[in-house]
């Protein structure tokens, strides 16, 4: 289809204008000057408004409270990524009660099981965005994409010291443009739809529940 390419680009070039591109003023998406308390309060409020659940583990270790929560909710198993910092801690220190399942092979090798039987997946985050109430997730060799997508419950650890005011601020300060992962995600709640009569329903294709564990030391 090189012909199509040449023809299309040729037509566009023939018509392209000589005008000076208009200037862009990014003030409106710039940091808001919010305090750390306000950022956290806002992120939590925005995410709770779309049914995100929170487990506040600031000032304590998160392993114990997570285990209690999973037992209380009757979650039968937790999938984790063994090569991540979170995964290493889970593998070393988990005290049982809820079985851990290691995501240590290619998805294709256990796709059926993942789709049919998985209950929960736990991931880390690269921070959060207060303005929109969003988590930032990088996926890579250690942290698979499907871990936050296929299991009906997604659990994400969020360090409250890595919150940004705005999306624009987060991408600039973390220098995303210098090297993007294959898949970078913003996640702002559990999966939802309003396609039937504008009525909100949660858990359509992605996770039905999203639990954010707030921590201040990872």
């Amino acid at each position: 289809m090189t012909d199509a390419r040449t023809a299309i680009l040729g037509r566009l070039r023939a018509a392209a204008g000589k005008d000076v591109p208009p200037a862009e003023d990014f003030t409106v998406v710039s940091p808001r000057g919010w305090t750390a308390e306000h950022r956290l309060e806002r992120l939590r409020r925005m995410m709770e408004a779309v049914h995100t659940e929170f487990l506040d583990c600031r000032g304590q270790d998160w392993l114990g409270p997570l285990r209690d929560w999973l037992i209380q909710e009757g979650v039968p198993g937790l999938i984790y990524a063994p090569a991540t910092a979170i995964g290493r801690r889970l593998a070393a220190e988990w005290s049982g009660g809820v079985p851990l399942i290691s995501y240590d092979k290619a998805m294709a090798e256990w796709k059926e099981e993942l789709f049919a039987q998985s209950a929960a997946g736990i991931t880390g985050t690269r921070g959060g965005i207060a303005e929109t109430g969003s988590l930032i997730l990088w996926t890579d060799a250690d942290q698979p994409r499907s871990l936050s997508l296929v299991p009906p419950l997604h659990i994400a650890l969020l360090d409250v010291n890595s919150l940004y005011d705005t999306f624009w601020q987060a991408m600039r300060e973390q220098k995303w443009a210098a090297g993007m992962p294959t898949n970078l995600l913003l996640i702002s709640g559990p999966s939802k739809t309003a396609d039937i009569e504008q009525t909100l329903a949660y858990g359509v294709h992605g996770p039905k529940r999203l639990l954010v564990i707030l921590v201040d030391q990872c």
Partner: protein, 473 residues
Amino acid sequence: MAAAEFRDAATRALADPQLRANFRRAMDGLMTKRAAMFADRDEWTALRSLGAAVRARSLLQLPELLERLEAKLTENGVHVHWAETVDQGNAIFKQILSRHDATRLVKGKSMVSEEIGLNHALEADGIEVIEADLGEYIIQLDHEKPSHIIMPAIHKNKQQIARLFSQKIKDAAYTEDVDRLTGLARQVLRRKFAEADAGVSGVNVAVAETGTLVLVENEGNGRMCTTIPKLHIAVMGLEKVVERLEEVPPVLSLLTRSATAQPITTYVNMITGPRRPGEKDGPEEVHLVILDNGRSRVFADPQLRNTLRCIRCGACMNHCPVYTRVGGHAYPGVYPGPIGKILTPQILGMDVAGDLPHASSLCNACVEVCPVEIPIASLLVRLRGEAIRPEPGAVKGAGSHADPTEAWTWRGWALAYRVPALYRLTTFLLTRFGWALPGRMPLLKEWTSVRSRPRFASQTLHELARREKVSNQ
């Protein structure tokens, strides 16, 4: 075809109280919620100018940006294809799919795939295409086209959907409970995601700087389509590119707030290539099909080019008094509402859709809400002119609606306004004998078919003014 089609379809839609009620309710809700999202006028103005500047900048550098995007994507391991026409677009899909022996597809919501009629083309070759967005899935079950670019099944109420599901989904019991209906679709589609050979998606923004395809969605079906199958094919109109990653946040903020009054969608999915060595999931191959289908011709005209700024938020249709009353199915082509009225005639040609620019009262509601400042009303007026311009103009099929009666009438009108004696004679005759004009005469009969006929005053304004001794000042 389409000109008469719109008229007839609009007339039919107007006579359907259920349809009108479904749209009215939905549009009222959307307008109220959107207004709340942009309650801070200063912020709205600033964000909107930024969004308009981002889109205007992309168009100014469009050929260079597309080349940069292609180079960057190729570097990232994404295969880039170019399609001038709908047929070329479908042929590219078929080639890729047949190389992979892919016969089962899952597809996220994509208006461009509707534009090229992808499902139809692939199904003709025995390939199964399952629409995975809940709204798209609903209308696919009923063999319909989307009636809204953001909420494709907005014309249906839950009773209609309940009936549809109980008839079309195996072992599904009739239920009007929205959570249970959603659960039914989840069950069916999860299997499809797991089994699919390939996933298809659209693109909301493509970033030249990083070679990133950005997709927004709430359901997770877009992530499923672009994550689970071994092969991912994305398709986009050639206008979707922006230069830098930092231009994405303002565009997405305008898009999601204008479309569904959300500060952000549940998922913002940024894809910068296929699975890398060592990664455990993600597609092994990613393709991008860049579609022209008349866009480069739209681009050639400096005024009409503004059509290509569109970020497909749907706000113009949510606020359109015509769309609210006739619904999305009355419009020919796949884009209904004001954006459709300016885009469809340019893509399909004035000969096919030249009536669409007239399906507007020029009330300007769309112009006020458009987040990227597209002067929709001026473009509608421009296209009305293109429809009757005797010389073939910038737009495909220009002049195809030229009507000698109309042309002569305007020529007479112009002459009367240039020659005072003729003007006086005409107005004298019309005030005295205008009543005698037959209601069935050309130009008048369309009006009188549904409205009472206008009555001429018995004296002209000039005569009245003279009688009242109104001075010329």
